[in-house]
Every structure is written in C-alpha cells, then in structure tokens.
Symmetry: C2
Subunit: 248 residues, 2 copies
DNA sequence: GCCGTAGGATTGTCGGACAATTCGTCCATT
DNA sequence: AATGGACGAATTGTCCGACAATCCTACGGC
C-alpha cells in the first residue's frame, strides 16, 4: 500500500530563473542575437536578488545559450556552437574510460557515410572550402599544430557539405579528441603527411565528381591510415584520451 | 610591422575559479565522488568572495562536473552522464535548423554499425539487458510515453554492448530528439508497435548468435521503418525538431 | 555629418547577514 | 553492538547594499 512518494524538493531560485530564461530562449521569446535585459531588470522581473540572477546567468552561459560578445557588456542570446558543445562532450569522454581506439572506431563509423552524403549534397561553395582546407594542409610543412588543425578543418568542411547538423555535431568531438594523438603521429611518422595529402586529394576529387562510392572508399582508407600511423608511431591505441581546454 | 596584438581581456574571477576547479577535476586532483569543500572554504582558498565562488560552481554544475546528490547539501565531483551531455546537444540541435530528417539520417548512419559492433562484443549480461528492454516494450500496450521510453532504452542497451563511450554518447541525443515524433507515430500508426517488436526480436536474436551481418541488416530495416512510420503518420520529416526539458 | 566627451547604465566583486537544512557527534535505549 | 534521537555546528540559499571599472549614449563642437 505504501505509495512511492515523490521526493519533494522545490528547486532553488537560481535554477528556476535559469529554467525560465532557457524556456524563453528555446521558445524564441528571446531570439538569437537579442541582448538580455540588465541583471537588475531581470532581478526585478523575477523578484529575486541580483546575485541569484547572476548564478542563473552563469549556468546558461556555460551551456552556450548566452554569450558575451567581445568588447560588450551585456549578454546576448545565441545558439550553442558545435565547438562549445563538443568541448563538453570531449571533457565527458575524457573523464570516462574512453580510449583512442574508441575514437577511431567512431571515426570509422561516421566519416565514410559523411563523405558519401557530402558527395551528394555538396555545393560549389562547399567544394571551394574543402579545396582550400586541403590546400592549407598541403602548404603547412613545418608546424605540426597547424597541420593537425588543418586536418580537422578538412573534416569539418566535409561535414558542412552534408548540411546535417547532427552529423556535424557528432564528428566535432572526435576531431577535438583526435588532435593530440594526431600531432604525435605526424611528428613521428615521416610519410604521414604525404599519405594524408593523398587521401585528401582523392576524397576532394571524388566529392567534386559527386562520386559517393569513391568518396566513401577513400575516406575509409583515410581513417584506416590514422590507425596505421598511430601504430607505426608506437602510440598505444588503448590509452585513454585526454582533453584540456581552459587557458586561452 | 604592426604586430597583431593579442586582445588583453583578463578573465573575470568567477571564470578563473571555474577553470581552476575544472582543471583540478580533469587532472583528478579532485576525484570522482569527492565532496567539494564548502563554499566559504573555497572562497578563502581562492581569495574571492563567496558569491564569486557560487557563480563558478553554477557553471561547473551545468556542465555536469559537479552534482548535488539528492538529499545532500555539499556538491560532489562527478563524471558528466551521457544523459546530461546529450541534453545540451539536443538543445543545441533544436536551436539550429535541425529537422527530423537530419536525425533520421544520423540514425541511419550510426545504428547499423552500432548493432554490428554490439554483435561482436556483447556479453551475457548485455544480452540480458537487451532482452529485458525488448520485453518491457512488448509488454507496454497502453502508455505511448512509456513505450517510447522503452524503445529508446532498447537502443541504449545495444549501445552499451559496444563498450564504446563515443558511440553511446553519439546516439543519445538522437534518442532524445526522436522521442516526441516517435510518440506521435506510435499513436497514429496501428501497426507500428508490432513492427518495432518484430525488429527488436530479430535484432536481439542476431545479437545472441553473434551474427553481426544480420544484426546490421535488421537494424537498417528497423531504422528505415521509423521513417516509413513517420510518413504514414502524416508527420512531415522536414519539420524542425524541438526539445524541452526544464520541469522535473 | 563626424567625433570626442561627460554622465548614466551595467557588470564584476565585495562585505555582511540570516533563515532553513543538513551534518556530525554524543548519549540513551533496546 | 546496533538503533534511534537530540542538538549545536556547519553549510547552503537568498538577500541587502556598496563601489570601482567599463561600456553606452546622447549631446555639443567642428
């Protein structure tokens, strides 16, 4: 007979304020680009103290719904960028027992279909961006950090070409987590840059022809190469990924 | 000759405190399960006011690194759960122009390889959880909300069987976003439940046999059915997804 | 019309206060 | 030795108020 009693825990005010604001943003009462009212005004409207409002604001800020535009005082409503979101994902993955092998497996799953889809939907503008990214990688012969950055950018431009936000967002954390090990690999495996450049070229050409099967096939090789290179570099793929991003 | 001057913007104290704490968590100085020191103590250590500390705490709390255990006062260090992370992703996707078609496409990409991988790695325990989830769905003939919940749970158990956090995390937002439209579909398409139950059974059997190809094949059909059902129900797949999750 | 400036508005941070809850410990009871 | 209060200490949630630093704006000068 003992009914399961719902635990009664009225939410603290800062959370109610955050929820209320988030609702206003999601239902577009507050639209993207709008500047938020001043804290004192919000405090007045919600009938709480300004400190309480500020706690709520920090919450929304860290989930990427509010942003302070550089050189501006007021907060503005914004859509969370893939980068911000992926940062949270990357941290979460780094805290769980995620290995480079896991990341690589996910790349294997995601990237070939992404390449395929990109081959079907890419526009002229996409192709230009893809070519530019490949070009930048090919031109960067010194700085490994930059090279790695350009590799990630290449994948991103392909993701954009799919026009599917879900896929773009899904691949972003992989790119973030891949960077450190990719950098190590490029430094230790001499032929790595050339192999990457070749794969990028073949993928790019396939995308230009709209050849989905070929784009997929080369993407598969490209991703497989990452693992090969990883092993050649003596990196252990079952090591846990790590991720830091605080200083800026 | 004009050197690119780095914009000097010393971060506000609440952000520095948040960064410092986040670093301590990521480098495991503060370990999972540890209770955080009291706010006054943190304020003393960082030499800032307690309000400032509280703003930092809200930030970490919303990124899922700190949690208040039910019926507890102190905050505890924790790993962000897939659910929490995916919530942020879902919101982000809902704010961009993400359509149900996008979600469905991502399901098409992700789920078959997940099923394949699960077929290779599943343990006895996984199989039991998968069977239990399928059982719960089959037994739920009334409440559409519950049925939908069980469908998502079925996918989650399969994701767990892959033992790959990245894949698990990638599929979570899809499940969250799928729920509303899936609920509508189940309510409007009479044969939907039966088709889902059949697919679940075939997938489960394939997983039990460790038959990766068959698991993949049935998962493909299963996901395709979602779209068919969607269309049969007269739901427009190019509508934007929406996501709310505030009350609790 | 463009530009600089003064005053107003807004944020970042602080000091302090107090009620409500939870924590921890000590003691009585079974 | 477990169990179950009892109670003061510790901690959080919320508020009030204050002030410097910075951003914003509107006004007046060129």
């Amino acid at each position: 007979m003992s009914a399961e009693l719902a635990p009664i825990r009225s939410k603290p005010a800062y959370r109610r304020v955050a929820d209320a604001l988030r609702d206003r943003i999601l239902d577009r009462t507050l639209r993207e680009g709008d500047r938020l009212p001043p804290e004192t005004e919000l405090a007045r409207q919600f009938d709480v103290h300004r400190s309480t409002v500020r706690e709520a604001l920090r919450e929304l800020q860290s989930s990427g719904l509010l942003i302070r535009r550089p050189g501006s005082k007021r907060l503005a409503v914004t859509r969370p960028t893939p980068g911000i979101i992926a940062q949270g994902i990357s941290r979460a993955l780094a805290m769980h027992e995620t290995t480079y092998l896991d990341v690589w497996e996910a790349l294997t799953v995601l990237e070939p279909p992404i390449a395929e889809s990109a081959a079907r939907r890419r526009t002229r503008a996409n192709l230009e961006r893809i070519a530019a990214a490949a070009q930048r990688f090919a031109a960067e012969n010194a700085d490994a950090d930059l090279a790695v950055h350009h590799v990630a950018a290449f994948f991103r431009t392909i993701g954009e070409a799919t026009r599917n936000r879900v896929l773009m967002l899904a691949q972003e954390p992989l790119l973030q987590l891949l960077e450190p090990s990719l950098r190590a690999m490029i430094n230790r495996v001499p032929q790595a840059r050339a192999r990457i450049a070749t794969a990028q070229r073949r993928i790019r050409e396939a995308l230009e022809r709209g050849d989905a099967a070929e784009a997929r096939a080369w993407m598969i090789r490209h991703v497989r190469d990452f693992r090969r290179g990883h092993e050649l570099a003596g990196l252990v793929t079952t090591h846990r990924v790590h991720f830091r991003r605080a200083a800026e």
